[in-house]
């Protein structure tokens, strides 16, 4: 009840997600809930409606926060993909050099054998 009253002057849209959640949790506290339900039909109705509006605002605001965060990280995705491609390419490059060195070694051994046979 106390939290509800303290934010009653403020429009719900002006509250931050944190303020909204704090208000909701205050209203959900057993002592506040019990007091409201015992305070008469009109008071209780108003209390419940406010709680419902606050919960709706919490959902909206959290959704908006997630959306913003997602947009921010998604804007980095092309760089991430480019990085992955570069790293895969670099690994392949090392493997190519390795294979080339091994193959050259084998060829040289064969050349040596050929020279020996020719001599």
């Amino acid at each position: 009840m106390a939290a509800n009253a303290s934010n009653s002057d403020k429009n719900l849209k002006d509250l931050t997600a944190k303020e909204l959640r704090t208000t909701r949790n205050e209203m959900l506290k057993r002592e506040n809930w019990t007091a409201a339900s015992a305070a008469g039909v009109e008071t209780f109705r108003s209390y419940v409606r406010t709680l419902n509006e606050i919960q709706g605002a919490v959902r909206d605001l959290e959704k908006a926060q997630l959306k913003t965060a997602l947009q921010q990280v998604k804007s980095l995705e092309s760089d991430l993909r480019a990085g992955i491609d570069d790293l895969i390419e670099a690994r392949k490059g090392i493997e190519r050099v390795e294979n080339f060195v091994a193959a050259t070694g084998k060829v040289l051994e064969l050349v040596a054998k050929a020279i020996r046979v020719a001599a």
Binding site: W33, V48, R59, G83, L87, E98, G105
Partner: protein, 297 residues
């Protein structure tokens, strides 16, 4: 004779410098692999963390709706509208969570690519390949009629030279990657840290809501109502109420782990992460991994 000793001294200095350089380079590559390993682990946990957040949001919303349902004189139509509205909102949130999980998968792929490059298995045969190459060269030289010098040193140096070359190549590729995308990854980790902070705050609050409205209020209402006998589920609810995990600590661990990863990444770009940074990072990632399971339940 004097010239010979001078030459040996110069060679000794050169070899020492090369060995030191090789050790430093190898250490950096190894550090890159370690940071990547923690990055993989943490990004693997992220989806479970997002799921836990989503579950906590649904729970908090449900217990609130459960109480809102008690509004005096509320019509069935209004109740249905309220539930539909809440479901639509939460389904949209769920979709965003799905996209966040996809993104975490991409970030994990990035760290896997770093690990695939810096891993010891990559180029592990390079040393023997180089040895083979040098032996091949020696074999050819031995067959030539006017061969000069000893082949012993060249043969012995083959394998270490190859190993050094592969580490140097890995280090060069890692350095290039850090220069190209290091700042982007740091920004990404910074955003993830902020997101975990936001989600963590919400989860803590959702947990409080769940405990108050989902457990405590029904528990007291049932207990205070003398009309009916207390059911078995009342005891179960009481056990649940009194054995709730410490959600605040769990979300702090996840945020700290992401912060640790960002710090280690930054230090890697600057030459190599400090030992203390890596120890703390490992500790935070392990703690998050252990507790995230508890959080999901």
């Amino acid at each position: 004779m004097k010239k010979y000793f001078r030459l040996r001294a110069i060679l000794f200095v050169l070899v020492t410098v090369l060995v030191v350089q090789a050790c430093t380079t190898a250490q950096r590559v190894h550090q890159g692999s370690e940071v990547a390993e923690e990055g993989i682990e943490l990004t693997r946990i992220l989806p479970a963390f997002y799921d836990a957040y989503y579950t906590s949001a649904i729970r908090a919303d449900s217990v609130t709706l459960q109480l809102v349902r008690q509004e005096p004189g509320i019509t069935t139509t209004r109740l249905r509208e309220q539930l539909n509205e809440a479901n639509t909102d939460l389904l949209q949130t769920g979709k965003l969570i799905g996209e966040m999980k996809d993104h975490a998968g991409l970030l994990r792929e990035y760290f896997e690519a770093i690990q695939a490059l810096t891993d010891d298995e990559v180029g592990e045969d390079f040393g023997s390949s180089t040895k083979q190459l040098i032996e091949g060269m020696e074999a050819v030289r031995e067959e030539l009629p006017d061969r000069v010098g000893s082949d012993f040193a060249a043969k012995k140096a083959g394998e270490p030279t190859g190993n050094f070359v592969v580490v140097a190549l890995k280090n060069k590729a890692l350095q290039r990657e850090l220069e190209l995308h290091g700042a982007t990854i740091e920004r990404e980790l910074e955003l993830q840290e902020t997101l975990l902070d936001t989600i963590g705050e919400s989860m803590t609050s959702n947990h409080e809501a769940w405990v108050s409205a989902g457990l405590e209020i029904p528990l007291f209402e049932s207990y205070e109502s003398k009309k009916q006998k207390l059911s078995r589920s009342w005891i179960d609810n009481r056990v649940e109420l009194l054995t709730q995990p410490d959600d605040v600590a769990i979300t702090e661990d996840a945020k700290d782990a992401m912060k640790g990863l960002r710090l280690a990444w930054r230090e890697l770009a600057g030459g190599g992460p400090r030992k203390s940074t890596m120890v703390r990072l490992r500790d935070r990632v392990d703690a998050t991994e252990k507790l995230v399971g508890t959080l999901a339940n």
